[in-house]
Symmetry: C2
Subunit: 264 residues, 2 copies
């Protein structure tokens, strides 16, 4: 049986560069699909039209909220190179562009060149059995059932209405047992509660304007270590930087998004 994520990124080809799809309600809050899920959906389409299957650097710009239900994905091939290819996937619903993914794809297994990993080890995340089970998912979330989270103890200040460092990390995996791969990393890069919640007094909403993920390695099976940090919340705008590490302790993805704090 296919996993929930695979069902939620299913595409029906309707031409060389177009697909019909059904935006899932499984990865959202209050009917708004999550940005990481949408990035994975767009990247799935790109992986089918480009000559390389692995996302290397992909950027989603979110123009308007997507809605669960039918949509059309329209792709464009910008470049078909030997080691990299580049393209765009746009989701249209009711004739309006909801988001677009612009991406450079490659074969991650074929990359060759020097390596030098300065930090060389994952961020300070205790073993999984010493981390905390999930905090309550926000009202209206369907997302909470689809991912399992284990938080670094003492970091989820927002859950008790306190303030603290805008840093959140721990362990994450898909609840149905689907193992991580380059596509699911795109989802996992936006599946964590925003660390900015620790830095504001009110209950807020943090919609993503733009999300970029660099996939750096094919992940090994198992839990993924996640580390998210916001350093600069300025007049309601923030960056959120993420690192994902696989079960073997290798860095597998870096993410950065720009989001706006909203009280609406």
């Amino acid at each position: 049986m296919p996993s929930e994520l695979d069902r939620s990124t299913r595409l029906v080809s309707t031409g060389d560069l177009t697909f019909d799809t059904e935006v899932s309600d499984a990865w959202g809050i209050s009917g708004i699909p999550n940005g990481g899920y949408l990035l994975a959906l767009g990247a799935t389409a790109l992986g089918q039209v480009l000559s390389h299957a692995d996302p290397l650097t992909v950027t989603a710009h979110f123009a308007r909220p997507s809605r669960p239900g039918p949509g059309q994905i329209v792709c464009e091939v910008i470049k078909a190179g030997r080691t990299q290819s580049m393209g765009v996937a746009r989701l249209l619903q009711d004739g309006k562009e909801r988001f677009r993914v612009t991406g450079t794809f490659t074969d991650l297994s074929a990359l060759r060149g020097p390596s030098n990993e300065a930090p060389g080890k994952p961020p300070p995340i205790p073993p999984i059995e010493r981390c905390q089970a999930a905090v309550a998912a926000p009202p209206g979330s369907t997302f909470g059932d689809r991912v399992e989270l284990r938080f670094v103890p003492g970091t989820t200040h927002f859950a008790t209405g306190e303030r603290g460092d805008m840093v959140l990390g721990g362990w994450i995996r898909l609840a149905d047992g689907r193992e991580p791969d380059p596509l699911s990393l795109l989802l996992l890069a936006d599946a964590w509660p925003p660390p900015a919640l620790n830095g504001v007094d009110e209950r807020v909403w943090v919609p993503t304007l733009e999300l970029t993920v660099h996939v750096r390695r094919r992940p090994s099976p198992g839990w993924v270590r996640a580390w998210f940090r916001t350093r600069y919340l300025i007049d309601g705008t923030l960056e959120e930087d993420g690192e994902l590490w696989d079960a073997r302790g290798n860095l597998v993805a870096l993410s950065r998004q720009m989001a706006r704090v909203s009280t609406a």
Copy 2:
């Protein structure tokens, strides 16, 4: 007299969404224009067709090397919102797309919301009079004459053939006295020697695949403090993270690019 950067981003409108331009040879190495300059060129076009003038988050995907000389910029408006607008600018030369900029624009002065700047102060860069004047520009560089750089002492290991931390920082300004603004920050985000040069043994070339800049504030006049770091060079692929701070000590931009080390 207009500044060199303003001359190098001059556009002649040829339609609602199209411009003729002349890609400058003033910001390149061995005839290849710099990615930050090209990002500024694309963003200049977007600022003219969108309803907001300031880049907030802009991403350039570089498909093929651009060439000094004539080109056409073709724009598309994705969204014209009240507080943000979104669009794409593509450079065509000889009928081929060289790069595209996808961006969300806003009015930086009109942003409102909570602030929380955790680090709150610039990276450890000594006063400018204690920093070092520019190292020798690489052969074929026209860039070196257009920007003034002052390096943190003891960090430019690459210049003497040594290895060291993949961190480089200091002070930067445009040599002709043009003061920083949101557009020039896009150039400054890619105007520093790559810190990855400190982490490899050979003389290498580090072409950018994708460059994203978040402009967070309108910069004050004067020198800009710059801090660039590569943490993960993996099989020849690297991320380069940048911070730009203005003369008043405020963070004004964050950048991240993905690049590939090349010995060619």
